[in-house]
Amino acid sequence: MGATVITITSGKGGVGKTTATANLSAALAMRGKRVVAIDADIGLRNLDVVMGLENRIVYDLVNVVEGACRLRQALIKDKRIENLYMIPAAQSRDKSAIRPQDMIDVCDQLRPEFDFILIDSPAGIEQGFRNAIAPADRICIITTPEVSAVRDADRVVGLVEAEGKGPTSLILNRLRPQMVQRGDMLDTADVLDVLAIELLGIVPEDETIIVSTNRGIPVVMENKSRAAQAFCNIAARLLGENVPIMELEEPSPSWLGKIASWVHRK
């Protein structure tokens, strides 16, 4: 049985595609799966630094596509986890260096050797995005609970549907339960209501993400933070396990809050 190709995309930049790709790849490998993460953001390479593999790059995805090296030579093995590999993007080229068919060909070569191929899509909806979704068996759309990110996510859902790709599911990233509770942030239900796609998982806002990115160690590898737990849960769902959506417990309301809700109820 060949690998499942999962593309992580968002439309908007900076919502957590690369962090999600790094952590889900690591979490799946920690579950004993053979995983390769591919950075499809040609010209804006970043998956390597987030995974902490930037010093080991010799060849990249464009070298493979152009035949300058063999696919195996561009595969960087992560020494911390068994069965985790990464293929970096080229840094000195642009998106036009690769066509959708190239991505399909590369993935077809990798499929027999792996259980999962995760593709980190570039932001936007142009060629880089089309390259990234071309080989996908399933698509994870990641968004934050902000109007701009959700709007872009909706556009991507539409484009993915138009391409006949899917199934498509949603990762809601950087949720801040306390802001939701005081009525200052879109809640999971709000986002699902407007996007109308299946929820794959929720990742709470968590400072440990920044710390782990500073160090080049995906959070799932080193700690038990809430974000790490959230990514592990999503990985388990990708393996077909029925893991309940994480309860982001909210602090019990203050006495003033209780009075307010009582007055409101009347």
């Binding site: 009525g183 200052d184 109308a196």
Partner: protein
């Protein structure tokens, strides 16, 4: 702040509610690629077309785009003025 709003009976929507309603409106227009200006044109043309057949209350007419899941729906609610007796 919200507590004060409640106590003084102000029904100011939260920024979360505002965000959701703004999103719903913008997305439904994004999805069908119909700007508010085009909607107004569509409404005007509907009025002129329907007025050829029945007398309608153009001011009370409502043309809205709504969504049900990922399915969008164009709804026109057009009050017809009581038919004048024909001679």
């Amino acid at each position: 702040m919200r507590v004060l709003n409640y106590l003084f009976g102000s029904q100011q929507p939260t920024s979360r509610e505002v965000a959701k309603s703004r999103l719903q409106l913008v997305l439904v227009h994004d999805r069908v690629d119909l700007s508010p200006q085009k909607m107004q044109m569509l409404k005007d043309e509907l009025i002129s077309t329907i007025s050829k057949y029945v007398e309608i209350d153009a001011a009370g007419m409502q043309v809205t785009l709504t969504q049900n899941g990922r399915q969008c729906r164009l709804t026109a609610d057009i009050p017809i003025l009581s038919a004048r007796p024909k001679r």
